[in-house]
C-alpha cells in the first residue's frame, strides 16, 4: 500500500482503526517529497521536524479518541501565500524570500485545530500572477504527467504535489482559475468556493475582491471534507459570510443525478478550444445525462468581457495590495543602509518583484489614476454586474453549469512565457467565476495525449453542496480521478 497515494477518506479510516499512524503516513509523504520533488519542484519550504511533531500529537489525539475530525493526522501542504506562524511565507517572490509570519491565517489555524499535519509550503506564480507556475522567482514547477510541461498556475505547486503524492491534499487559492486550472492540468480535483465562504484572513492578498481559498484533492469527497473544516464566518474577515456550513458529504451519497438540471454555456465551447478537450468534456456531459441529469444549452452573453474586467480589477487591486512591500518593516530591504527612503523603495521593489508583477503594478496604477478611473476601474465594475446577472439568469433554469476548465491541456514550459496575452487567454474559461461570484469544482474527465483534461461544475453562490454532489456522482461512476502519475 502506497500511503502517500491515499485519499483523505481512506487514510482517515485507517488512522481511526489504528492500522496506520499519522507519523507513518507523514513520513511516507516526506519520503515521497524527498524522492520526487527534486524533479517536480512543488515545494518552496518543507517543514519536516514540525510535521513529525504535529503527526505525533495527532497520533496521541487518535489514541485518546478525541476530539477527532476527518482531517486529524492527515499530512497536507499549502500554497505559499497563506500566512503560517514560524514558517516562511514567500508568495514565491524575492521580496518575501525570508519573511517569516508571526501569525496563522484563519484557514491554517482551523486545520491545526482539526489536527491536520502541515508538511510544507508550495510553489506558485509570484503573488499568484501567472497561469503556469513559471513566474515563481525561485524555480518552475513541473507537471508530474510530463516534466516538460507546466502544472498550470498559479497554484501549480499545490496541484503537482497532490497529483504526485506529496501531501494528501493542499490548500490553494483561486483568484481567476488558480485552483481549477492547475487541478485540471495535473489531473486532480480542485474547488473554488464562493467568495466569502472561506475566510481570507492571513491570505497574502492578490485581488481582495476575488481571492478564494479552496482545496486541491484526489476527489470531490475529500474536497468536501476539507471545505467543511475551513469554511465559515471569521470575525477578522468582514467579507466572510455567516451562512451556516452544511455537512457537505451528507448529500454526496448518490450515483444518480435524476432531476438535476445542468446547463452547457454555449460561449464556453466557442472558438479556440482544443478538439480533444472539447471531446472529453462533451463525453463527460453525455455521461452525466446517462446518470439522469437534464442537460440544456444556456447562454452567458457577457463571457467575452470576463478577461478584460478580470485583468482590470486584478491589476488595480494588486497595485494597492502590493504597496506594503516597501522594505521598511519586513522582507527584502535594499541596500542594507545608507540611502534615502525613495531610493530604498525603488531599489527594494526593483529587485524584489519579478517582471510580471511589475507589469501588473504599472497597469493597475494607470487604471486607478486620476482621469482614467471612471473609464477603466468603474466601467469594469459595471460590466462585472452584467456578468453576475448572466449567472443569476442561468441559475434560474439550471442547478449547475458544465464547462471545460482550460481550452487546452498542459502546455510546454516556456511556450507562452514571452507572450503575456496568450498566457492570459489560457484562463478564459475560469476567470468569469471570480468576478461572477459563483463557486466551481474542477474534476478530471479524461486524457488527451497522455495529459489530463478537466471539467468545471459551476454552481450558484453558496452552491458548494450542489457542485460537490454532481462531482461525487460523476466520480462514483468514472475512474479518471483515480489515475496517478509517477506510480511505481
Amino acid at each position: 500500500m502506497d500511503l502517500h497515494a491515499l485519499t483523505i477518506r481512506k487514510a482517515s479510516a485507517l488512522l481511526r482503526s489504528g492500522e496506520i499512524t499519522s507519523v507513518a503516513l507523514t513520513q511516507a509523504v516526506l519520503d515521497r517529497i524527498a524522492a520526487v520533488d527534486p524533479a517536480i519542484k512543488a515545494y518552496v519550504t518543507v517543514c519536516e521536524d514540525a510535521a513529525l511533531q504535529e503527526a505525533t500529537a495527532a497520533d496521541a489525539r487518535l489514541q485518546r479518541g478525541g476530539p477527532l475530525t476527518p482531517l486529524t493526522g492527515i499530512p497536507y501542504g499549502v500554497k505559499d501565500c497563506l500566512s503560517t506562524t514560524g514558517v516562511r511565507t514567500t508568495c514565491s517572490s524575492r521580496i518575501l524570500e525570508n519573511y517569516v509570519p508571526r501569525y496563522d491565517a484563519t484557514v491554517i489555524s482551523r486545520l491545526r485545530e482539526a489536527g491536520a499535519v502541515l508538511v510544507g509550503k508550495q510553489n506558485m506564480d509570484e503573488f499568484g500572477m501567472g497561469s503556469s507556475c513559471e513566474n515563481s522567482a525561485f524555480f518552475a514547477t513541473r507537471n508530474p504527467w510530463a516534466f516538460d510541461r507546466v502544472p498550470g498556475g498559479s497554484s501549480g505547486g499545490s496541484a503537482a504535489a497532490v497529483a504526485s503524492g506529496m501531501g494528501l491534499f493542499a490548500l490553494g487559492e483561486d483568484t481567476g482559475g488558480s485552483i481549477r486550472m492547475p487541478a485540471s492540468f495535473c489531473g486532480v480535483t480542485g474547488l473554488k468556493p464562493t467568495y466569502g465562504r472561506v475566510p481570507r484572513y492571513g491570505l497574502l492578498a492578490l485581488v481582495s475582491s476575488f481571492d478564494s481559498i479552496g482545496p486541491l484533492t484526489h476527489d470531490a469527497w475529500d474536497a468536501a471534507l476539507v471545505l467543511g473544516a475551513i469554511a465559515g464566518r471569521d470575525p477578522r474577515d468582514s467579507t466572510s459570510v455567516g451562512v451556516p456550513v452544511p455537512g457537505y458529504t451528507s448529500t454526496m451519497t448518490g450515483e444518480r443525478l435524476d432531476g438535476v438540471r445542468l446547463g452547457v454555456p454555449i460561449e464556453y465551447f466557442a472558438k479556440g478550444i482544443d478538439p480533444a478537450v472539447e471531446c472529453a468534456v462533451r463525453t463527460a456531459i453525455t455521461h452525466l445525462e446517462a446518470l439522469g441529469a437534464e442537460v440544456r444549452e444556456v447562454s452567458l452573453p457577457h463571457t467575452e468581457h470576463a478577461i478584460s474586467i478580470y485583468y482590470l480589477i486584478l491589476t488595480a487591486e494588486a497595485s494597492s495590495n502590493l504597496a506594503r512591500f516597501d522594505g521598511v518593516r519586513f522582507g527584502l530591504s535594499e541596500p542594507p543602509e545608507g540611502v534615502d527612503i525613495v531610493e530604498r523603495y525603488l531599489k527594494t521593489r526593483g529587485k524584489g518583484f519579478g517582471p510580471e508583477v511589475k507589469r501588473r503594478i504599472m497597469l493597475g496604477t494607470f487604471a486607478l489614476s486620476a482621469g482614467y478611473y471612471d473609464a477603466y476601474y468603474l466601467r469594469a465594475q459595471r460590466v462585472r454586474t452584467l456578468l453576475r446577472q448572466d449567472f443569476a439568469h442561468a441559475f434560474e433554469v439550471v442547478d449547475a453549469l458544465i464547462a471545460p476548465v482550460s481550452p487546452t491541456c498542459a502546455f510546454k514550459i516556456g511556450e507562452k512565457v514571452d507572450d503575456p496575452l496568450q498566457m492570459y487567454l489560457s484562463d478564459i474559461h475560469v476567470v468569469a467565476a471570480n468576478p461572477g461570484g459563483v463557486c466551481s469544482l474542477a474534476v478530471p474527465c479524461g486524457f488527451a495525449e497522455g495529459l489530463p483534461v478537466g471539467m468545471q461544475i459551476i454552481g450558484p453562490p453558496m452552491g458548494e453542496a450542489g457542485v460537490l454532489s454532481v462531482g461525487a456522482a460523476y466520480q462514483a461512476t468514472t475512474d479518471w480521478h483515480t489515475r496517478r502519475p509517477m506510480a511505481e
Binding site: C91, L96, S238, L322, R329, S369
Partner: protein, 491 residues
C-alpha cells in the same frame, strides 16, 4: 490700505482622533502616544503585515455619527471605505483606509460667534472616518547613528480619525479661530476628543485664498497643513493672507500648493506644488463591505447626544438669567457648567449670584493654585450654602471671600467655618452703636475735622469700625449710626 480691497476666504479641515478604547480596524488599544513606550500597541493589522485584514470599530462609527448629528449633518444610509494610496514609511500598508465617495456625514452647518459679537453660519461639507498614520521621528545627522535617520512609532497607526471638512465660509482669521474653537468645544462636549492639541489629537489645516472684494469667483487657494495649535492657525493664516496679497499686488499670481508652517521662523513653506500633488488613486476598499446605517441606529445615537454648547448657553441666559459673559465662561467647560447647575439647583433662588461666585472667586482660587475642577474640594452644595449665608446677612461679603478661601483649602462646610472663626456678621444696632461711640471718642481730632467740612472722613470712621469688628459689622447699619452720631455732635 490694500488689505481692505480683498476678501479673505478660508475653509478648514480638522482631523480629530476619536476617543475609542481600541483602534479603527483592529483590537489594539488606543494609547497616549506622548507617554506610551513606542511600538507596544501594534498587531498584524495596524502594522500592515501581509494577509491581515481590517474590521470596522463600531464605537468609532457611532462617535462619527454623533459628531455628524451635532454638526447638523445628514448621516448617510450607506457609507463605504476607500483606499487612499501613497508611499510613506509611516503608512504601513502603502494606503490609508479612508472614505471618499460616501462619507458617513454630509451637508451640515454650525453657527459661530466672532469677536465683534456677530453670528456666522459655517457650512460643513462632510465628515469622514479614516485611520491615523504612524508617527515619524526625524533625527538629523551627527547623532549616535552617524547619518540622519527616522524612527517610527506605530502606536498611532490605525487610531480612528474623523476629518471634518468645512465649506470656504470663513472670511476672517477671527472666524477661522472661532470655528476651530467651536468644533473643539463640540467634540469635547460629545466626549469623542479631549481637545488636547499639544498631544496631537486635534489638528487643523487651513485652505486660504483671497479675491477682490465684491467678486464671486474663488481665488487660487493654498493649503496649510499640520497646524497643531490655535496660535499656529492664526499666525499661519495671517501670514499666508498677507503673502498672497503681496504676490497679487506685485502683479503676480498665487500658485496652488501645499504649505507647511514653520513655527520658529513664522513663515509658510512650500511642500508640494500642484504639479507634484499626489494622485491618491482612490478606489473602494475591497476588504470592507459598505456599512448600512438604518434610521433606528441613527435615532439610538441621537438619543445619546448631550446638550450642546449653544443650547446650554441659551438656557443659562434664558432660564437662569445669567449675564452673557458668565454664561459664556461656564459653557466653555462642560464640567464647570455642570458644577454651576448643581450649585444652582441646591441654591434654588436667582442663580445669577451663584454664577458670579463660581466664575469670580472660585475660578480665581483655581487659577491661583492651578487646581483643576475635579480636584476642587468645594462642593456645589457648599458654595450654594455660602451664597445663602451672604443673602441672609449672616456673613459679610468680605468675610464670605475669606470663608470660600478656607473652604477651598480645607473642604469644610461654610457654616462651620463661619461659626468657628466667629465671622457671623454683627447686625445688632446696640452693639454697633457702642463700637461707633468708642471709635468717635478715641479720635476727637478727626471728629473736629469732619465737622469742619472734611466729609470724606466718614469712610475712614467706617474703616475703623470694620477694623474693630474684624470686618463683621453690617456696613449699612454702621454707616447710618456714624452719620447720626456725627450730626448729633454738630448740633
Amino acid at each position: 490700505m490694500a488689505e481692505t480691497e480683498y476678501e479673505i476666504v478660508i475653509g478648514m479641515e480638522i482631523h480629530a482622533e476619536l476617543r475609542t478604547a481600541s483602534k479603527m480596524f483592529c483590537g489594539c488599544p488606543v494609547v497616549d502616544t506622548t507617554v506610551a513606550e513606542p511600538n507596544t500597541a501594534v498587531c498584524p493589522v495596524c502594522g500592515g503585515l501581509p494577509g491581515a485584514m481590517p474590521v470596522v470599530n463600531k464605537l468609532a462609527v457611532e462617535q462619527a455619527m454623533l459628531v455628524g448629528l451635532a454638526l447638523n449633518c445628514q448621516i448617510n444610509a450607506s457609507t463605504s471605505f476607500a483606499r487612499k494610496n501613497y508611499f510613506y514609511p509611516d503608512l504601513p500598508k502603502g494606503y490609508q483606509i479612508s472614505q471618499y465617495d460616501d462619507p458617513i456625514a454630509t451637508n451640515g452647518w454650525i453657527d459661530v460667534q466672532t469677536e465683534d459679537g456677530g453670528n456666522v453660519r459655517i457650512g460643513i461639507r462632510r465628515a469622514h472616518m479614516e485611520e491615523d498614520t504612524a508617527k515619524s521621528f526625524h533625527y538629523s545627522a551627527g547623532g549616535a547613528r552617524g547619518g540622519a535617520y527616522t524612527l517610527i512609532d506605530f502606536n498611532r497607526s490605525g487610531v480612528p480619525l474623523l476629518e471634518i471638512v468645512s465649506e470656504p465660509d470663513m472670511h476672517s482669521v477671527a472666524a477661522a479661530y472661532a470655528y476651530g474653537t467651536k468644533i473643539r468645544e463640540i467634540l469635547r462636549y460629545l466626549g469623542v476628543n479631549s481637545g488636547d492639541m499639544e498631544k496631537g489629537v486635534l489638528r487643523f489645516e487651513a485652505n486660504v485664498s483671497i479675491r477682490p472684494r465684491g467678486t464671486e469667483a474663488l481665488g487660487t487657494r493654498t493649503e496649510i497643513k499640520n497646524l497643531n495649535s490655535f496660535r499656529a492657525l492664526v499666525r499661519a493664516s495671517e501670514y499666508e493672507i498677507a503673502r498672497q496679497i503681496e504676490v497679487v499686488e506685485a502683479g503676480g499670481t498665487v500658485v496652488q500648493e501645499t504649505l507647511g508652517w514653520d513655527e520658529a521662523r513664522g513663515v509658510t513653506v512650500s511642500q508640494r506644488s500642484k504639479e507634484h500633488a499626489h494622485d491618491y488613486r482612490y478606489f473602494p476598499e475591497p476588504d470592507l463591505p459598505p456599512l448600512t446605517i438604518d434610521g433606528a441606529w441613527i435615532e439610538e445615537v441621537r438619543q445619546a447626544l448631550p446638550e450642546l454648547p449653544d443650547a446650554k448657553y441659551a438656557r443659562f441666559v434664558g432660564v437662569y438669567g445669567l449675564v452673557e459673559n458668565d454664561a459664556r465662561i461656564l459653557v466653555e467647560d462642560q464640567a464647570l457648567a455642570s458644577y454651576f447647575e448643581a450649585a444652582a439647583r441646591s441654591y434654588g433662588g436667582n442663580a445669577a449670584s451663584v454664577s458670579k461666585w463660581i466664575v469670580g472667586e472660585l475660578a480665581y482660587l483655581m487659577n491661583r493654585d492651578g487646581v483643576a475642577l475635579e480636584a476642587v474640594r468645594v462642593t456645589p452644595e457648599s458654595i450654594a450654602s455660602l451664597v445663602k449665608l451672604v443673602d441672609a446677612g449672616t456673613v459679610s461679603l468680605s468675610s464670605a471671600k475669606d470663608v470660600l478661601a478656607t473652604m477651598f483649602e480645607t473642604g469644610r462646610a461654610p457654616e462651620v467655618i463661619v461659626k468657628d472663626n466667629g465671622l457671623v456678621q454683627i447686625s445688632d444696632e446696640e452693639a454697633l452703636s457702642q463700637i461707633a461711640d468708642q471709635v468717635l471718642s478715641d479720635h476727637p481730632d478727626e471728629v473736629v475735622a469732619f465737622l469742619g467740612g472734611r466729609e470724606s472722613l466718614l469712610q475712614w470712621f467706617m474703616g475703623q469700625v470694620m477694623r474693630a469688628t474684624r470686618g463683621r459689622a453690617q456696613p449699612q447699619t454702621v454707616l447710618g449710626l456714624l452719620r447720626g452720631k456725627l450730626e448729633a455732635r454738630r448740633r
